[in-house]
């Protein structure tokens, strides 16, 4: 069934969440509910029967309203979530940027955090040492390297996070609306780096609420609505439909 051309292959995937526990106030109620087999969580399907195939080197933009399942789809591809039904196959290395600097520890200094975050992405200490200068330079944070991250502004830690994650030139880059905190100049710099990576054959998945950004960076787009695919195809067409609804 596997098609060798696809670097990401999501087949008929459904993701189920437990929305909330029902309030059970007394022991009696608990037993009754247990006997009636009602003691289940309320189910909520974040994604319903999604089919999504990506070839190597493609750039996809994901659009949709809040809660439409964009991040869930990315998490599914990263392997953080497992599909309730269906399957997900991914080949190649990944740089997950669901949130920049997710692995940062506020108490550690930026220098120590670079190594920690690098290790989270699977790099060795030696490798990180070799690329340390490159990261610092890209983030433009030379003066603040020995400051604990808790004193960083959100923009500063976003810079550092992006610099660490994109340094390795992964096969697949996943961005979830992360660049919005950076200043204009840095956003441009990030876009430039993403373009560079695309030219070198990296596959990009990009979530954004900005139509311009998606049209600029991505060739193709996927429109999700309430966990279902509403439209899938050329970025300009999908964006125009999405905005025009």
């Amino acid at each position: 069934m596997e098609n060798p051309n696809y670097i990401i292959d999501v087949v008929d995937a459904t993701v189920r969440f437990n929305k909330a526990t029902e309030r059970v106030d007394s022991m009696k109620e608990y037993v009754i509910k247990l006997l009636k087999k009602e003691l289940m969580y309320q189910e909520f399907l974040a994604l319903k029967n999604i089919n999504f195939k990506v070839k190597q080197g493609e750039s996809w933009g994901l659009v949709g309203t809040n809660g439409s399942g964009k991040s869930t789809l990315l998490k599914l591809i990263c392997g953080i979530l497992k599909p309730y039904k269906g399957s997900v196959t991914v080949k190649g290395s990944m740089a997950p940027l669901i949130e920049l600097g997710a692995g940062f520890d506020g108490e550690l200094t930026a220098r120590e955090n670079i190594f920690l975050n690098g290790a989270l992405l699977g790099h060795s200490e030696k490798y990180m040492k070799e690329h340390f200068e490159e990261i610092v330079e890209f983030a433009e944070l030379q003066e603040f390297m020995d400051m604990p991250i808790k004193n960083y502004s959100s923009g500063m830690s976003a810079r550092l996070g992006f610099a660490v994650a994109t340094m390795a030139r992964p096969d697949i880059l996943i961005c979830d609306e992360v660049l919005s905190v950076g200043d204009y100049k840095f956003q441009e710099k990030c876009e430039k780096r993403m373009q560079e990576m695309l030219q070198k054959g990296t596959t990009l998945l990009y979530v954004s609420h900005s139509k311009e950004a998606v049209e600029k960076i991505c060739e193709k787009a996927l429109w999700l609505d309430k966990g279902e695919i509403k439209m899938c195809g050329d970025a300009k067409e999908v964006c125009a439909k999405y905005m025009g609804q």
Binding site: N18, L81, G103, L108
Partner: protein, 262 residues
């Protein structure tokens, strides 16, 4: 078999992460304290001093070289409590990270138990000071100590994995576990001699309480200058292995469900 090989490969790929997490724990533990790492040695020494004063004046036990007897039990038991307590919260404490990046989840439990092991090695510096101060004969049998430490480490890791996965589903475990370890402490001959208990209880404790077994092995090596009996070593490794199997099995079985509960 293929599965095992793949798992092993994944673990190997993430060895740097384990290292970084352990370094992080150790660095942060004493950051901004004046004496820093010295506390790892000072703390057990001071604690021992308090217990020696209490138990040599208020409740007397007829034990030769009481300070050394006490610090062995205290240090090893402390390692067990620290590592399992840390392991217990290792998944929920890293929940924000686990929601954002894919990392094999046992890495967090493993690194917590391992950083406790490093703390144990520091604390063994305190032990050494007591051994020298009380003029304990250095014997070749002390080379057996690493084996005992490995036995405890395996036991704690297995138990920790079990607790970590259980705590995701039953948060209450965090609160009840403190009571369990206190009870466990009194059931372990840390400050009293095992011989003081009725013979039947002695046997039961020796078999059912692995900590008692490990501490006794350690004391045999250091205080009596001989190898522990082979039966207790085999059982010590065996029970460690059993816990490791239960821990790994329950953890792997439930790990995909974690994300829905954290």
């Amino acid at each position: 078999m293929e599965m095992m090989k793949k798992r092993w490969q994944v673990f190997y790929d993430y060895r740097h992460l384990v290292k970084q997490l352990v370094i992080k724990d150790i660095k942060l533990k004493y950051r901004r304290s004046f004496l820093g790492y010295l506390w790892s040695i000072l703390n057990p020494l001071l604690l021992m001093l308090v217990l020696v004063i209490v138990f040599s004046h208020m409740f007397r036990f007829n034990i030769e070289n009481y300070p050394a007897y006490l610090i062995i039990g205290q240090t090893l038991f402390n390692f067990m409590t620290e590592s399992t307590n840390q392991a217990l919260v290792s998944i929920s404490a890293n929940s924000s990270l686990l929601k954002k990046v894919y990392v094999p989840k046992y890495i967090f439990t493993l690194s917590k138990v391992t950083s406790s092991l490093i703390n144990l090695l520091f604390a063994m510096g305190a032990m050494l000071i007591v051994f020298i101060a009380t003029r304990i004969q250095i014997s070749v049998y002390m080379l057996f100590i690493p084996v005992i430490i490995i036995e405890i480490y395996i036991f704690c890791l297995g138990f920790g994995l079990f607790l970590a996965q259980a705590a995701v589903f039953f948060r209450d475990l965090q609160y009840i576990y403190g009571v369990v370890t206190t009870a466990w402490m009194y059931l372990t001959p840390i400050f009293y001699p095992l011989q003081q208990l009725p013979e039947v209880v002695q046997k039961v404790i020796m078999i059912c309480n692995p900590m008692c077994n490990y501490i006794t092995q350690f004391r045999t090596v250091v205080l009596e200058g001989q190898l522990p009996n082979i039966g207790s070593v085999v059982w010590g490794i065996g029970i460690g292995g059993i816990f490791m199997i239960i821990g790994t099995w329950s953890f792997l079985r439930n790990q995909d469900k974690f994300i829905l509960y954290i």
